[in-house]
Protein backbone atom coordinates (compact mmCIF):
# COMPACT_ATOMS: atom_id res chain seq x y z
CA UNK A 1 0.00 0.00 0.00
CA UNK A 2 3.01 2.29 0.13
CA UNK A 3 3.52 1.97 -3.63
CA UNK A 4 4.06 5.46 -5.02
CA UNK A 5 1.95 6.37 -8.00
CA UNK A 6 1.98 9.21 -10.54
CA UNK A 7 -0.74 11.81 -10.70
CA UNK A 8 -1.82 13.34 -14.00
CA UNK A 9 0.55 16.25 -13.32
CA UNK A 10 3.44 13.87 -13.17
CA UNK A 11 4.03 14.43 -9.46
CA UNK A 12 4.99 11.33 -7.50
CA UNK A 13 2.89 11.01 -4.38
CA UNK A 14 2.43 8.24 -1.89
CA UNK A 15 -0.92 7.25 -0.47
CA UNK A 16 0.82 7.33 2.88
CA UNK A 17 1.02 11.11 2.83
CA UNK A 18 -2.61 11.70 3.83
CA UNK A 19 -4.10 9.68 6.68
CA UNK A 20 -7.38 8.04 5.68
CA UNK A 21 -10.57 9.47 7.23
CA UNK A 22 -12.06 7.79 10.30
CA UNK A 23 -14.84 5.26 10.05
CA UNK A 24 -18.46 6.36 10.40
CA UNK A 25 -19.13 6.55 14.15
CA UNK A 26 -22.27 4.44 13.72
CA UNK A 27 -20.37 1.68 11.91
CA UNK A 28 -17.48 1.77 14.41
CA UNK A 29 -20.07 1.55 17.20
CA UNK A 30 -21.57 -1.60 15.68
CA UNK A 31 -18.06 -3.11 15.45
CA UNK A 32 -17.33 -2.23 19.07
CA UNK A 33 -20.72 -3.58 20.15
CA UNK A 34 -20.08 -6.91 18.39
CA UNK A 35 -16.68 -7.22 20.13
CA UNK A 36 -18.43 -6.60 23.46
CA UNK A 37 -21.13 -9.15 22.58
CA UNK A 38 -18.40 -11.67 21.71
CA UNK A 39 -16.93 -11.14 25.18
CA UNK A 40 -20.34 -11.81 26.77
CA UNK A 41 -20.93 -14.93 24.68
CA UNK A 42 -17.46 -16.46 24.85
CA UNK A 43 -16.39 -15.37 28.36
CA UNK A 44 -19.53 -14.30 30.22
CA UNK A 45 -17.88 -10.99 31.04
CA UNK A 46 -17.26 -7.67 29.33
CA UNK A 47 -14.40 -5.37 28.41
CA UNK A 48 -12.18 -3.30 30.69
CA UNK A 49 -9.16 -1.04 30.83
CA UNK A 50 -8.60 0.61 34.22
CA UNK A 51 -8.66 -2.82 35.91
CA UNK A 52 -5.62 -3.92 33.87
CA UNK A 53 -3.65 -0.89 35.06
CA UNK A 54 -4.67 -1.60 38.64
CA UNK A 55 -3.12 -5.06 38.23
CA UNK A 56 0.10 -3.38 37.04
CA UNK A 57 0.06 -1.01 40.04
CA UNK A 58 -0.68 -3.79 42.55
CA UNK A 59 2.07 -5.99 41.06
CA UNK A 60 4.51 -3.06 41.16
CA UNK A 61 3.74 -2.26 44.79
CA UNK A 62 4.11 -5.93 45.72
CA UNK A 63 7.53 -6.08 44.03
CA UNK A 64 8.78 -3.01 45.93
CA UNK A 65 7.07 -3.60 49.27
CA UNK A 66 5.48 -7.09 49.53
CA UNK A 67 4.25 -6.80 53.13
CA UNK A 68 2.81 -3.34 52.51
CA UNK A 69 0.88 -4.57 49.44
CA UNK A 70 -0.41 -7.66 51.22
CA UNK A 71 -1.76 -5.56 54.11
CA UNK A 72 -3.90 -3.45 51.76
CA UNK A 73 -7.33 -4.93 50.87
CA UNK A 74 -7.46 -2.93 47.64
CA UNK A 75 -4.17 -4.36 46.32
CA UNK A 76 -4.83 -7.92 47.50
CA UNK A 77 -8.04 -8.01 45.44
CA UNK A 78 -5.86 -7.56 42.35
CA UNK A 79 -2.93 -9.68 43.57
CA UNK A 80 -4.92 -12.89 44.02
CA UNK A 81 -3.58 -15.74 46.12
CA UNK A 82 0.07 -15.56 47.23
CA UNK A 83 2.31 -17.33 44.72
CA UNK A 84 0.13 -16.54 41.71
CA UNK A 85 1.26 -14.02 39.12
CA UNK A 86 -1.06 -10.96 39.26
CA UNK A 87 -0.21 -10.18 35.63
CA UNK A 88 -1.55 -13.53 34.44
CA UNK A 89 -4.92 -11.87 34.31
CA UNK A 90 -7.71 -11.60 31.73
CA UNK A 91 -7.76 -7.80 31.58
CA UNK A 92 -3.97 -7.54 31.36
CA UNK A 93 -3.97 -9.75 28.25
CA UNK A 94 -6.97 -7.86 26.88
CA UNK A 95 -5.27 -4.45 27.27
CA UNK A 96 -2.16 -5.74 25.46
CA UNK A 97 -4.56 -6.72 22.67
CA UNK A 98 -6.07 -3.21 22.71
CA UNK A 99 -2.66 -1.67 22.02
CA UNK A 100 -1.97 -4.20 19.22
CA UNK A 101 -5.42 -3.71 17.66
CA UNK A 102 -5.08 0.07 17.81
CA UNK A 103 -1.66 -0.13 16.19
CA UNK A 104 -2.96 -2.42 13.38
CA UNK A 105 -5.85 -0.07 12.60
CA UNK A 106 -3.63 3.00 12.76
CA UNK A 107 -1.02 1.46 10.45
CA UNK A 108 -3.65 0.36 7.90
CA UNK A 109 -5.00 3.91 7.81
CA UNK A 110 -1.63 5.72 7.83
CA UNK A 111 -2.43 7.37 11.15
CA UNK A 112 0.61 6.24 13.17
CA UNK A 113 2.81 9.26 13.80
CA UNK A 114 4.70 10.89 16.65
CA UNK A 115 2.49 13.77 17.67
CA UNK A 116 1.03 15.65 20.62
CA UNK A 117 -2.74 16.06 20.29
CA UNK A 118 -3.69 19.63 21.22
CA UNK A 119 -5.36 22.81 20.05
CA UNK A 120 -3.32 25.66 18.50
CA UNK A 121 -3.42 27.91 21.58
CA UNK A 122 -1.52 25.79 24.11
CA UNK A 123 2.17 24.86 24.31
CA UNK A 124 3.32 21.25 24.08
CA UNK A 125 4.67 21.26 27.66
CA UNK A 126 1.46 22.61 29.10
CA UNK A 127 -0.58 20.06 27.13
CA UNK A 128 1.60 17.23 28.47
CA UNK A 129 1.22 18.55 32.03
CA UNK A 130 -2.57 18.59 31.56
CA UNK A 131 -2.46 15.04 30.15
CA UNK A 132 -0.55 13.82 33.22
CA UNK A 133 -2.72 15.57 35.82
CA UNK A 134 -5.93 14.73 33.92
CA UNK A 135 -4.81 11.11 33.65
CA UNK A 136 -4.20 11.06 37.42
CA UNK A 137 -7.63 12.52 38.20
CA UNK A 138 -9.17 9.97 35.84
CA UNK A 139 -7.29 7.13 37.53
CA UNK A 140 -8.72 8.10 40.91
CA UNK A 141 -12.23 8.55 39.47
CA UNK A 142 -12.14 5.17 37.74
CA UNK A 143 -11.21 3.44 40.99
CA UNK A 144 -13.95 5.21 42.99
CA UNK A 145 -16.44 4.09 40.34
CA UNK A 146 -15.02 0.53 40.10
CA UNK A 147 -14.36 0.87 36.40
CA UNK A 148 -14.12 3.24 33.49
CA UNK A 149 -15.78 3.91 30.15
CA UNK A 150 -15.01 0.30 29.13
CA UNK A 151 -15.84 -1.69 32.24
CA UNK A 152 -18.72 0.45 33.47
CA UNK A 153 -20.19 2.56 30.66
CA UNK A 154 -19.97 -0.01 27.82
CA UNK A 155 -20.00 -3.36 29.62
CA UNK A 156 -22.34 -2.49 32.50
CA UNK A 157 -24.35 -0.11 30.31
CA UNK A 158 -25.30 -2.82 27.80
CA UNK A 159 -26.17 -5.14 30.72
CA UNK A 160 -28.41 -2.30 32.03
CA UNK A 161 -26.61 -1.96 35.37
CA UNK A 162 -27.95 1.03 37.31
CA UNK A 163 -24.51 1.93 38.70
CA UNK A 164 -23.00 1.91 35.20
CA UNK A 165 -25.70 4.23 33.83
CA UNK A 166 -25.32 6.55 36.82
CA UNK A 167 -21.55 6.61 36.24
CA UNK A 168 -21.97 7.36 32.53
CA UNK A 169 -24.42 10.22 33.11
CA UNK A 170 -22.09 11.65 35.79
CA UNK A 171 -19.08 11.50 33.41
CA UNK A 172 -20.87 13.42 30.65
CA UNK A 173 -22.44 15.93 33.09
CA UNK A 174 -19.11 16.72 34.73
CA UNK A 175 -17.14 16.86 31.46
CA UNK A 176 -19.63 19.32 29.95
CA UNK A 177 -19.64 21.36 33.17
CA UNK A 178 -15.85 21.90 33.15
CA UNK A 179 -15.25 21.94 29.35
CA UNK A 180 -15.39 25.74 29.29
CA UNK A 181 -12.34 26.00 31.57
CA UNK A 182 -10.24 23.75 29.31
CA UNK A 183 -11.29 25.30 25.99
CA UNK A 184 -7.84 26.84 25.41
CA UNK A 185 -6.37 23.36 25.36
CA UNK A 186 -8.59 22.12 22.53
CA UNK A 187 -10.10 24.97 20.50
Amino acid sequence: MSEPFATDHGVIVSDRAEPRPYMSPYLAGVGLGLVLLAAYVVMGRGLGASGAFTSFVAAGVETVAPAHARSNAFYTEYLGDPGTNPLKNWLVFEIIGVAIGGLISGMLAGRVRKEVEKGPRISVNKRLLFAFVGGGIMGIGSKLARGCTSGQALTGGAMLSVGSWAFMIAVFASAYAVAYFFRRQWL
Binding site: G29, G136, L144, A170
Partner: protein, 200 residues
Amino acid sequence: MNAPFYKFGLFGEDASLLVALFIGIGFGFFLERAGFGSARKLAAQFYFTDLRVFKVMFVAIVTAMLGAFWLSWLGLLDYTQVTVPSTYLVPQIFGGLVFGVGFVMGGYCPGTCCVAAATGRLDGVVHLFGMISGILIFGELYSFIEGFYTSTPMGRFTLPDLLQLPFGLTVFLVVLLALAGFAAAERLEKKFNPSGEIPS
Protein backbone atom coordinates in the same frame (compact mmCIF):
# COMPACT_ATOMS: atom_id res chain seq x y z
CA MET B 1 -25.08 -23.56 21.92
CA ASN B 2 -24.26 -23.19 25.59
CA ALA B 3 -23.10 -19.65 26.13
CA PRO B 4 -21.19 -18.12 27.86
CA PHE B 5 -18.75 -20.83 26.71
CA TYR B 6 -16.14 -20.17 29.43
CA LYS B 7 -18.69 -20.36 32.25
CA PHE B 8 -19.88 -23.73 30.91
CA GLY B 9 -16.31 -25.05 30.91
CA LEU B 10 -15.73 -25.28 27.14
CA PHE B 11 -12.14 -24.11 27.64
CA GLY B 12 -9.79 -23.40 30.53
CA GLU B 13 -8.03 -20.39 32.02
CA ASP B 14 -4.95 -20.47 29.77
CA ALA B 15 -7.11 -20.49 26.63
CA SER B 16 -9.17 -17.65 28.11
CA LEU B 17 -6.07 -15.45 28.11
CA LEU B 18 -5.67 -16.05 24.38
CA VAL B 19 -9.34 -15.12 23.95
CA ALA B 20 -8.60 -11.96 25.97
CA LEU B 21 -5.81 -11.02 23.57
CA PHE B 22 -8.03 -11.45 20.50
CA ILE B 23 -11.00 -9.63 22.03
CA GLY B 24 -8.60 -6.83 23.02
CA ILE B 25 -7.30 -6.62 19.44
CA GLY B 26 -10.88 -6.22 18.16
CA PHE B 27 -11.60 -3.62 20.85
CA GLY B 28 -8.47 -1.59 20.10
CA PHE B 29 -9.03 -1.85 16.34
CA PHE B 30 -12.51 -0.34 16.49
CA LEU B 31 -11.46 2.32 19.04
CA GLU B 32 -8.81 3.52 16.59
CA ARG B 33 -11.20 3.26 13.59
CA ALA B 34 -13.66 5.42 15.51
CA GLY B 35 -11.06 8.15 15.93
CA PHE B 36 -10.54 7.54 19.64
CA GLY B 37 -6.77 7.48 19.34
CA SER B 38 -7.00 11.25 18.92
CA ALA B 39 -7.59 13.46 21.96
CA ARG B 40 -8.85 16.27 19.72
CA LYS B 41 -11.56 13.98 18.33
CA LEU B 42 -12.52 12.84 21.82
CA ALA B 43 -12.55 16.34 23.33
CA ALA B 44 -14.65 17.68 20.43
CA GLN B 45 -17.58 15.85 22.05
CA PHE B 46 -17.60 18.40 24.87
CA TYR B 47 -17.64 21.41 22.53
CA PHE B 48 -20.43 19.94 20.34
CA THR B 49 -18.28 20.01 17.18
CA ASP B 50 -18.04 16.22 16.76
CA LEU B 51 -20.33 14.02 18.84
CA ARG B 52 -18.76 10.69 17.90
CA VAL B 53 -17.98 9.73 21.49
CA PHE B 54 -21.69 9.71 22.24
CA LYS B 55 -22.62 8.04 18.94
CA VAL B 56 -20.03 5.26 19.09
CA MET B 57 -20.73 4.50 22.76
CA PHE B 58 -24.48 4.33 22.35
CA VAL B 59 -24.42 2.31 19.13
CA ALA B 60 -22.05 -0.13 20.87
CA ILE B 61 -24.28 -0.34 23.96
CA VAL B 62 -27.41 -0.88 21.85
CA THR B 63 -25.69 -3.48 19.64
CA ALA B 64 -24.37 -5.54 22.56
CA MET B 65 -27.61 -5.12 24.54
CA LEU B 66 -29.82 -6.28 21.65
CA GLY B 67 -27.43 -9.13 20.80
CA ALA B 68 -27.45 -10.42 24.37
CA PHE B 69 -31.23 -9.96 24.61
CA TRP B 70 -31.97 -11.85 21.39
CA LEU B 71 -29.47 -14.65 22.09
CA SER B 72 -30.96 -15.18 25.54
CA TRP B 73 -34.50 -15.03 24.10
CA LEU B 74 -33.52 -17.76 21.62
CA GLY B 75 -32.18 -19.81 24.52
CA LEU B 76 -28.59 -19.66 23.24
CA LEU B 77 -27.12 -17.47 25.99
CA ASP B 78 -27.68 -17.87 29.73
CA TYR B 79 -28.08 -14.19 30.60
CA THR B 80 -27.73 -14.83 34.35
CA GLN B 81 -24.20 -16.16 33.75
CA VAL B 82 -22.99 -12.87 32.24
CA THR B 83 -21.34 -10.71 34.90
CA VAL B 84 -23.13 -7.46 35.70
CA PRO B 85 -20.94 -5.00 37.64
CA SER B 86 -22.33 -4.54 41.15
CA THR B 87 -23.84 -1.15 41.85
CA TYR B 88 -22.38 1.10 44.56
CA LEU B 89 -24.50 4.09 43.66
CA VAL B 90 -22.98 7.08 45.50
CA PRO B 91 -19.27 6.31 44.97
CA GLN B 92 -20.01 5.52 41.31
CA ILE B 93 -21.74 8.87 40.75
CA PHE B 94 -18.92 10.70 42.55
CA GLY B 95 -16.30 8.67 40.67
CA GLY B 96 -18.02 9.59 37.40
CA LEU B 97 -17.89 13.30 38.27
CA VAL B 98 -14.16 13.05 39.03
CA PHE B 99 -13.60 10.96 35.88
CA GLY B 100 -15.32 13.57 33.68
CA VAL B 101 -12.88 16.28 34.81
CA GLY B 102 -9.97 13.96 34.05
CA PHE B 103 -11.46 13.22 30.62
CA VAL B 104 -11.62 16.88 29.49
CA MET B 105 -8.28 17.74 31.09
CA GLY B 106 -6.33 14.65 30.01
CA GLY B 107 -8.11 14.09 26.72
CA TYR B 108 -8.43 10.31 26.91
CA CYS B 109 -10.03 7.53 28.90
CA PRO B 110 -8.12 4.46 30.16
CA GLY B 111 -8.69 2.37 27.01
CA THR B 112 -8.26 5.12 24.45
CA CYS B 113 -4.97 6.35 25.95
CA CYS B 114 -3.52 2.88 25.16
CA VAL B 115 -4.61 3.25 21.53
CA ALA B 116 -3.21 6.81 21.43
CA ALA B 117 0.10 5.65 22.93
CA ALA B 118 0.31 2.70 20.50
CA THR B 119 -0.19 5.03 17.52
CA GLY B 120 2.53 7.47 18.59
CA ARG B 121 0.62 10.14 20.52
CA LEU B 122 2.97 11.42 23.25
CA ASP B 123 0.12 12.95 25.23
CA GLY B 124 -1.46 9.48 25.27
CA VAL B 125 1.72 8.03 26.80
CA VAL B 126 1.84 10.80 29.41
CA HIS B 127 -1.89 10.37 30.17
CA LEU B 128 -1.26 6.65 30.70
CA PHE B 129 1.48 7.31 33.25
CA GLY B 130 -0.70 9.94 34.94
CA MET B 131 -3.48 7.38 35.25
CA ILE B 132 -1.14 4.79 36.79
CA SER B 133 -0.02 7.45 39.32
CA GLY B 134 -3.66 8.21 40.14
CA ILE B 135 -4.43 4.54 40.77
CA LEU B 136 -1.32 4.33 43.01
CA ILE B 137 -2.51 7.38 44.99
CA PHE B 138 -5.93 5.74 45.37
CA GLY B 139 -4.32 2.50 46.53
CA GLU B 140 -2.06 4.22 49.08
CA LEU B 141 -5.00 6.24 50.49
CA TYR B 142 -7.34 3.24 50.40
CA SER B 143 -7.69 2.93 54.19
CA PHE B 144 -9.14 6.46 54.28
CA ILE B 145 -11.38 5.92 51.23
CA GLU B 146 -12.61 2.39 51.98
CA GLY B 147 -15.72 3.46 53.93
CA PHE B 148 -16.95 5.65 51.09
CA TYR B 149 -15.81 3.20 48.39
CA THR B 150 -17.95 0.40 49.83
CA SER B 151 -20.98 2.59 50.69
CA THR B 152 -24.48 2.23 49.14
CA PRO B 153 -23.95 -1.37 47.93
CA MET B 154 -26.89 -2.55 45.81
CA GLY B 155 -25.52 -5.73 44.22
CA ARG B 156 -26.72 -6.79 40.76
CA PHE B 157 -29.20 -3.97 40.27
CA THR B 158 -30.46 -3.28 36.76
CA LEU B 159 -32.69 -0.71 35.06
CA PRO B 160 -35.63 -3.19 34.83
CA ASP B 161 -35.33 -3.64 38.63
CA LEU B 162 -35.22 0.12 39.17
CA LEU B 163 -38.07 1.00 36.81
CA GLN B 164 -40.14 -2.09 37.70
CA LEU B 165 -40.55 -2.79 33.98
CA PRO B 166 -40.20 -6.03 32.00
CA PHE B 167 -36.68 -6.65 30.63
CA GLY B 168 -37.79 -6.56 26.97
CA LEU B 169 -39.64 -3.27 27.39
CA THR B 170 -36.61 -1.67 29.07
CA VAL B 171 -34.43 -2.79 26.15
CA PHE B 172 -36.94 -1.26 23.72
CA LEU B 173 -36.97 2.04 25.68
CA VAL B 174 -33.16 2.22 25.65
CA VAL B 175 -33.22 1.76 21.84
CA LEU B 176 -35.78 4.59 21.51
CA LEU B 177 -33.68 6.80 23.79
CA ALA B 178 -30.59 6.10 21.68
CA LEU B 179 -32.40 6.87 18.41
CA ALA B 180 -33.67 10.17 19.83
CA GLY B 181 -30.13 10.88 21.04
CA PHE B 182 -28.63 10.26 17.57
CA ALA B 183 -31.19 12.60 15.95
CA ALA B 184 -30.37 15.29 18.53
CA ALA B 185 -26.62 14.74 18.03
CA GLU B 186 -26.91 15.25 14.25
CA ARG B 187 -28.80 18.53 14.79
CA LEU B 188 -26.31 19.78 17.40
CA GLU B 189 -23.37 19.06 15.09
CA LYS B 190 -25.00 20.99 12.24
CA LYS B 191 -25.57 23.92 14.59
CA PHE B 192 -22.12 24.05 16.24
CA ASN B 193 -20.02 22.87 13.31
CA PRO B 194 -21.89 23.60 10.05
CA SER B 195 -18.83 22.99 7.84
CA GLY B 196 -18.28 19.56 9.35
CA GLU B 197 -14.55 20.18 9.57
CA ILE B 198 -12.35 18.72 12.24
CA PRO B 199 -11.71 21.42 14.85
CA SER B 200 -8.01 21.84 15.43
